[in-house]
Amino acid sequence: MAGNATSRVQVAPERFSLVKYDAGEIAAVVVELAELIGLSNPISVFVDETTPLAKMSAEVESMSSDAPIVLRLESGALEDTRHLTNFSSERARQRLGRVMLRARDRLRPDFADAPPDLELTNPQNSAWDVYCGGRLERLGIEVPTQRFRYDFRNRFGFSDEVDAVFDRLWASDDLGWHDLPTAT
């Protein structure tokens, strides 16, 4: 595991073989985001470099502010899509920011009922992503709104009503798990 100066963030593997990523660079993005989001817990990041897919998950041991957080990412989540196998700090900020906001949500009692990330349905995933996307944008991270909107439409339907739900979710800052929409 590669640690950063504060030793709060660990990244594995330390050296990548199949992609041109640097564990220290990933750790630096996580540290920057943790400060921005207000996350003081120790964070371990595991990157699966055998796949170009981009699934991510966050696991939080308990709701305490020193409970370890584990982020698991497939390598595509951090990839520069213009130069495959290369790291993109812009994409890393968007993707890690999203999964770290989820981790922060999980530290709240009103997210206690949320299933583990890998067990979320596609609509649950999409709704939570939209809630994270809007908050990330307000934190100053550049996020492509239309991509979130298209994903949300794919999961909830292509209609004005669904777009209105998206807009409300995108603008929200203080929701609980049961405030997120579920597919009918």
């Binding site: 073989s17 199949l18 992609v19 699966d48 470099e49 055998t50 796949t51 170009p52 897919l53 981009a54 699934k55 497939e74 390598s75 899509t81 213009r82 130069h83 495959l84 196998t85 890998l118 596609n122 995933n125 492509p144 709104t145 239309q146 991509r147 979130f148 909107r149 298209y150 994903d151 439409r153 794919n154 339907g157 292509f158």
Partner: protein
């Protein structure tokens, strides 16, 4: 105006980053779950809306379609321009074939515009993904008959498979534009393949060796366009082989069977290469 344009000289602005097959195949990661352990990789890799990464995968494919259409436009346009009108021998092509290529270029230009608008609708920026120039490379032969085999039958055949997949995606997701647009473009692609099949037959009517060479070239290109098994009848392939529409375009059952076998070979070869590379890297 200059004839026989090499792939390196294609006109692109700085939004585009180009790659080729050698670079793509050098990436030894795979979406296929070789160890059958990862939760994110289900039994099927088929591009359908129920995949967790459906929107991202659809965006990437749509961008691939858009740059593919640009290259198809360039390929058809070059064929209309590069060869003098004649009887089809000694580097000439019948004038009517030039007209068909011009019509195809017009269709492809429309497809580029449609695909760019669909990309925008799906949240993709132009140039967001790299452009594989392998499609245009199939349009660089000095023999127009090889271009017909490579572009109109292999490339446009691939387009039939891809458009069918995206049309079904749009249908299942209930996307009001995607299914409609893909359906219209699919109809054009079927026509382009049919044009290629008809012209290839007519131009080589009295030259069986040339026809055999062209069909052999098509097989080479078809295997390349399988992209290591990304297209095929296996559930591990994101893009299926659109048998019905290929039939409408003039492919025989035997020809489609041959393509399916080559796709399967390409997939197995790719899996073996990736497995070996990952074992060597110790991951």
């Amino acid at each position: 105006m200059r004839q026989f344009f090499p792939v390196e000289d294609l006109a692109r602005d700085d939004r585009f980053v180009q790659t080729n097959m050698a670079e793509r195949m050098a990436d030894t990661r795979t979406a296929v779950d070789l160890k059958k352990t990862a939760k994110s990789r289900g039994a099927s890799n088929r591009l359908t809306p129920d995949r967790h990464d459906a929107s991202d995968a659809a965006r990437s494919l749509m961008h691939g379609i858009m740059v593919g259409e640009i290259q198809a436009l360039e390929g058809a346009g070059r064929t209309a321009h590069d060869f003098d009108a004649g009887d089809g021998s000694e580097g000439t092509i019948p004038f009517e074939l030039k007209l068909d290529m011009a019509r195809q270029a017009w269709d492809e230009a429309r497809h580029v515009e449609i695909s760019a608008k669909l990309s925008d609708w799906m949240g993709t920026e132009i140039g967001q993904f790299q452009e594989n120039t392998v499609l245009f490379e199939a349009a660089c032969s000095n023999d127009p008959v090889l271009r017909l085999a490579g572009v109109n039958r292999a490339l446009e055949g691939l387009a039939i498979d891809v458009f069918t997949q995206m049309k079904e995606f749009g249908q299942l997701a209930d996307d009001p534009f995607l299914e409609f647009c893909e359906d219209w473009m699919l109809a054009d692609e079927v026509t382009h393949v049919k044009m290629g099949s008809d012209w290839l037959r007519r131009v080589t009517e009295n030259d069986p060796d040339r026809r055999a060479k062209a069909l052999e070239f098509q097989q080479v290109v078809d295997k390349l366009f399988s992209f290591g098994g990304a297209r095929g009848e296996s559930e591990e392939s994101p893009i299926g082989l659109a048998r019905r529409f290929r039939e409408l375009a003039g492919f025989t059952d035997d020809e489609v069977d041959t393509i399916a076998e080559m796709d399967h070979e390409a997939l197995e070869e790719r899996k073996a290469a990736v497995r070996l590379a990952q074992e060597s890297a110790g991951v």
